[in-house]
C-alpha cells in the first residue's frame, strides 16, 4: 500500500451538539453540508461522490437515511452511497472511491438524533441477539464492566478518570459546538455519586443530536482550490470479537492494528482526537496508539463534550483537521469507534 494516492480534507463543518434538537435531521444537516462545501471552495455540482452515515434505530424509523438525501442536493441525480455506521466510515468509503481518479471531490457526512429515543433501551439491540440483547445490556453497563476491569488491575484510577473528564470539559470551552464544557474540580467530581459503579456522570458522554460534514479531494484538486489542505496520510479500520467475556476489555487490539496500518507510529503526533465515549477508554486508546504524554488529547473536548451518534467519529476528523488548518499543528490522529467497549475502531493520520 505504499503507492496510495494522496487525498486531502478541504472542507469541514459541524452543527452544534444539542441535547434535544428542535429541527429534524435533514433540516439540521442542511446548513452543515452547505457550510462544508462553501468552506471547501467548490460548487455543489462538482462533487463526484457522496457518502452518508446514519442509523435507522436512533430515530426509530426504517429508511430514515432516505430523507437525509434532501439536504445533499440530489437533483439532478448524484453518485451516492450510505453506510449504517458512523460518518467516519462514510469518509473511508469516499476516500477509497476517490482513489479511482475519475472523480476529484467527495462529500462525507454523518448525522444522528439520539434525543427522541432511549439509548439504554436501543443499544441492547446491537448485541448478540441470542445471549445478550435479551438481558437488556446497555452501553453504560458494558463500559462500567470495562472500567472496573481496568481499575482492578491498577491500569487507571478513578481520580485519573475524573481528571480526563475535567480536562475534556475545560478544553471544550474553546469549542463552540460542544454541549458540555466548563471548569470542574476533580475532587468535586469524585464526590458525586456513581451512576453505574464504577462510573459517575462525568465518565459518561452526553446524549446529543448533531451532524458533521467533511469534503475530500484528490491531490491535484486540493492544491487547486485549497491553500492549506489537510492530508490523509493513512487510514485503516478493524473489528474484534463481539462477546465482551471473550475479550480482554482492558485492551483494544483492533485499535492497535488500525493504528499500525494507518502509520500512527511513523512520526511525531502533535494531537489526537479520539472517540473515547467514556473517560477510561481514552487511556486504552492512548496505550494502543502509543500516544505519549506529549500528545495533546481531544483539544475539542472529544466525545465527552459532544456525542452526536453517527457523526461523533466524523467530528474527530473535522476537529483534527481544524487543529492543523487553524491551530498550526502538523500531525494529528483521528479515531472513530463502533459497537460497545471499543469493538470496532477506525484510525487516521492527518498532516499539514
Amino acid at each position: 500500500m505504499g503507492t496510495v494516492p494522496e487525498i486531502a480534507i478541504i472542507g469541514y463543518a459541524q452543527s452544534p451538539s444539542w441535547r434535544r434538537a428542535e429541527l429534524t435531521e435533514p433540516q439540521f444537516l442542511f446548513p452543515v453540508i452547505s457550510d462544508a462545501i462553501e468552506r471547501a471552495g467548490i460548487e455543489r455540482r462538482d462533487i463526484g461522490f457522496t457518502c452518508a452515515g446514519s442509523c435507522d434505530y436512533l430515530s426509530g424509523q426504517t429508511f430514515a437515511f432516505v430523507m437525509n438525501l434532501e439536504a445533499v442536493g440530489a437533483w439532478p441525480p448524484i453518485s451516492e452511497s450510505h453506510v449504517e455506521m458512523d460518518g467516519a466510515w462514510a469518509l473511508y468509503e469516499a476516500w477509497v472511491r476517490l482513489q479511482h481518479g475519475d472523480v476529484d471531490t467527495a462529500l462525507a457526512f454523518g448525522s444522528g438524533k439520539s434525543s427522541p429515543g432511549t439509548p439504554a433501551e436501543i443499544y441492547p439491540l446491537q448485541m448478540d441477539p441470542y445471549t445478550l440483547t435479551p438481558l437488556g445490556i446497555d452501553p453504560v453497563s458494558i463500559a462500567a464492566l470495562q472500567a472496573r476491569a481496568m481499575l482492578d488491575r491498577n491500569l487507571i484510577t478513578e481520580h485519573e478518570m475524573a481528571a480526563i473528564a475535567a480536562r475534556s470539559r475545560a478544553a471544550a470551552k474553546g469549542n463552540p459546538y460542544a454541549q458540555v464544557s466548563g471548569d470542574f474540580d476533580v475532587d468535586a467530581l469524585l464526590a458525586e455519586p456513581y451512576v453505574t459503579a464504577p462510573l459517575r456522570k462525568h465518565d459518561l458522554p452526553p446524549i446529543s443530536d448533531g451532524a458533521t460534514a467533511v469534503v475530500l479531494a484528490t491531490a491535484a484538486k486540493a492544491k487547486e482550490v485549497c491553500e492549506h489542505p489537510v492530508w490523509i496520510r493513512g487510514i485503516d479500520h478493524r473489528i474484534e470479537i463481539h462477546q465482551p467475556g471473550m475479550r480482554d476489555l482492558t485492551e483494544s487490539p483492533s485499535t492497535r492494528l488500525a493504528g499500525e496500518h494507518a502509520g500512527v507510529g511513523e512520526g511525531k503526533v502533535d494531537a489526537a482526537e479520539l472517540s473515547a465515549s467514556f473517560t477510561h477508554q481514552e487511556k486504552i486508546l492512548r496505550n494502543e496508539l502509543g500516544l505519549g504524554d506529549d500528545v495533546e488529547i481531544n483539544p475539542s473536548g472529544g466525545a465527552l463534550a459532544a456525542n452526536p451518534m453517527m457523526a461523533v467519529g466524523l467530528s474527530r476528523f473535522a476537529e483534527a483537521a481544524r487543529q492543523i488548518a487553524e491551530h498550526g499543528k502538523h500531525r494529528v490522529v483521528a479515531h472513530a469507534t463502533s459497537g460497545q467497549a471499543l469493538q470496532q475502531n477506525l484510525v487516521a493520520v492527518l498532516e499539514a
Binding site: 438525501l69 477509497v96 482513489q99 439491540l125 441477539p129
Partner: protein
C-alpha cells in the same frame, strides 16, 4: 491514479425459503459466505476485508449486525463495513467491495448480503410499525399503472413476466418459489393485491443470503475456476419525492445506465449484453426497466417481453435465475442479481445457463425507485470489445 481489474472468483448463495428454520441469523449469512469461499478454494484467513449489506435493521430487530456477526464472518482483526442503500443495497454493497480491489486497497474481499424476513415482517417495517401500511407494491402500483397507460402495453405482459421468471426458477435449485404448474391463467386468476398487480405478479418474502469473493488479476490467476471480470460499476441516487418528478422513468436510472454503458464501452446494450439480471419485484418492472435503462426505446420494452426476447432462449434473457419474483431476501436480492450475472459469464449457471454468455448485467434499485446500482461483468477483460 490507475485502477486495477477486479474479478469475481467465488459465488455462494443459500437455498432461499419462506423460513430457514434450520439456521440462526449468522448461520444464514455464513452458509452463503462459506459457499463463496469454497467456490474460490480459499479459507477464512485468506480474506482481507468484509463488506456486508442488508435492508433496514428493524426487519430482523438486530442493530448494526456486523458487530454480532464478526465471528460468523471470520472478521476478527479485519476491516468490515456495513452498507445500506434501501432495495439497491445488495448491488451497492458489491460495488463498495469492488472499489476495495480496484484501488488496490485489498487483495481478497468477501462481500455478503442477506435478509431473514421470517424473523420479522417487512410490511410492518415498511409501514414504520404503523397500521395501514401500503407495502412496496402499494407505492409502486400507481407507477406501474402509469407505465401501462403511457406505453399502451396489453395487460398480459405482466402475466407473461410472472410466468417466465417462475419457469426459470424451476431451473435454479436455490430459488424460493418452485411453482411447477405456473400458467398465465393462474397469474391472472390470483388475487389482486395492488391493482394492477396480482398476487402472482409479486415477489415472495424470503430468508436468504448471497456472497461473493472478489480479487485482483493475481488472485484470479490462482483461482480454480474461470473468473467473472467486473468491467464497469455505477451508482446513482435522486430525491424520492418532489413536484414534477418522473418515478416511472427516473432520471437516476437513466443516468446510472449510461454511466455504466460508457464505462464498459457498451454502445448498444441490447446487442452487446448477453444476459441481464434486473431487479423486478413486480412483473411490470421488467418492461419498465428495459425502457428506464435505455435497453429498449420508450414504449418498446413490453414488446421485448411479449415477443419472448427476455426468455432464456431469447436474444436478451432477463432473470434466467428466476429473479426477485422467485426469491426475495430483500437485502440480498440486489447482490443475487449481480452474482447471477457473474455466474452466467463464468458459465457456472447450471440449468439456467444462457449459452455462450460473455457479457452480463446485474441491476438493483431501491427506495421510491430512486437508488440504482448496476454492474457489467465479462468472461474476459475484452468481452465487450469483442462484441463490437
Amino acid at each position: 491514479m490507475t485502477t486495477q481489474p477486479c474479478a469475481v472468483v467465488g459465488i455462494g448463495q443459500t437455498k432461499h425459503k419462506k423460513r430457514r428454520d434450520d439456521v440462526s441469523l449468522p448461520g444464514l449469512v455464513r452458509e452463503a459466505a462459506q459457499r463463496a469461499l469454497d467456490d474460490a478454494a480459499l479459507t477464512w484467513t485468506d480474506i482481507d476485508a468484509v463488506v456486508l449489506g442488508k435492508a433496514p435493521d428493524p426487519f430482523e430487530g438486530v442493530m448494526m449486525p456486523e458487530l454480532s456477526m464478526a465471528d460468523a464472518l471470520g472478521a476478527n482483526g479485519k476491516p468490515i463495513m456495513r452498507v445500506h442503500t434501501a432495495g439497491s443495497v445488495g448491488g451497492s454493497t458489491a460495488i463498495v467491495a469492488t472499489h476495495l480491489i480496484e484501488t488496490g486497497r485489498h487483495d481478497r474481499v468477501l462481500t455478503v448480503a442477506y435478509e431473514k424476513q421470517a424473523e420479522g415482517n417487512a410490511q410492518w417495517g415498511l409501514a414504520g410499525g404503523r397500521s395501514g401500511g401500503m407495502g412496496a407494491g402499494g407505492i409502486f402500483a400507481p407507477w406501474m399503472r402509469s407505465y401501462i397507460a403511457k406505453s399502451g402495453a396489453p395487460e398480459h405482459v405482466g402475466w407473461q413476466v410472472a410466468v417466465k421468471d417462475r419457469q426459470n426458477a424451476l431451473k435454479n435449485p436455490y430459488a424460493h418459489l418452485q411453482l411447477k404448474d405456473i400458467s398465465i391463467e393462474k397469474v391472472k386468476e390470483s388475487p389482486m393485491l395492488w391493482e394492477p398487480v396480482h398476487f402472482l405478479e409479486s415477489c415472495p418474502s424470503s430468508d436468504g443470503a448471497c456472497a461473493m469473493v472478489l480479487t485482483n488479476e493475481d488472485g484470479a490467476k490462482r483461482a480454480p475456476k474461470a473468473p467473472a471480470w467486473v468491467l464497469a460499476t455505477a451508482m446513482r441516487s435522486e430525491l424520492g419525492t418532489f413536484p414534477g418528478r418522473d418515478p416511472v422513468r427516473p432520471q437516476a436510472g437513466v443516468e446510472c445506465a449510461h454511466m455504466l454503458y460508457d464505462a464498459a464501452g457498451i454502445t448498444n446494450p441490447r446487442e452487446q449484453i448477453d444476459v441481464a439480471e434486473i431487479y423486478v419485484p413486480f412483473s411490470w418492472y421488467e418492461p419498465m426497466w428495459l425502457e428506464g435503462h435505455d435497453i429498449a426505446a420508450p414504449g418498446e420494452g413490453w414488446k421485448m417481453t411479449d415477443t419472448g426476447a427476455t426468455e432464456i432462449s431469447g436474444d436478451f434473457p432477463v432473470n434466467a435465475s428466476g429473479g426477485v419474483l422467485s426469491s426475495n431476501p430483500i437485502g440480498a436480492s440486489g447482490m443475487l442479481r449481480f452474482a447471477e450475472a457473474a455466474l452466467q459469464v463464468r458459465g457456472e449457471a447450471g440449468e439456467h445457463q444462457v449459452e455462450g454468455a460473455t457479457v452480463g448485467m446485474g441491476h438493483a434499485y431501491g427506495g421510491a425507485a430512486q437508488y440504482f446500482a448496476m454492474w457489467i461483468v465479462g468472461s474476459t477483460l475484452d468481452a465487450v470489445a469483442n462484441k463490437i
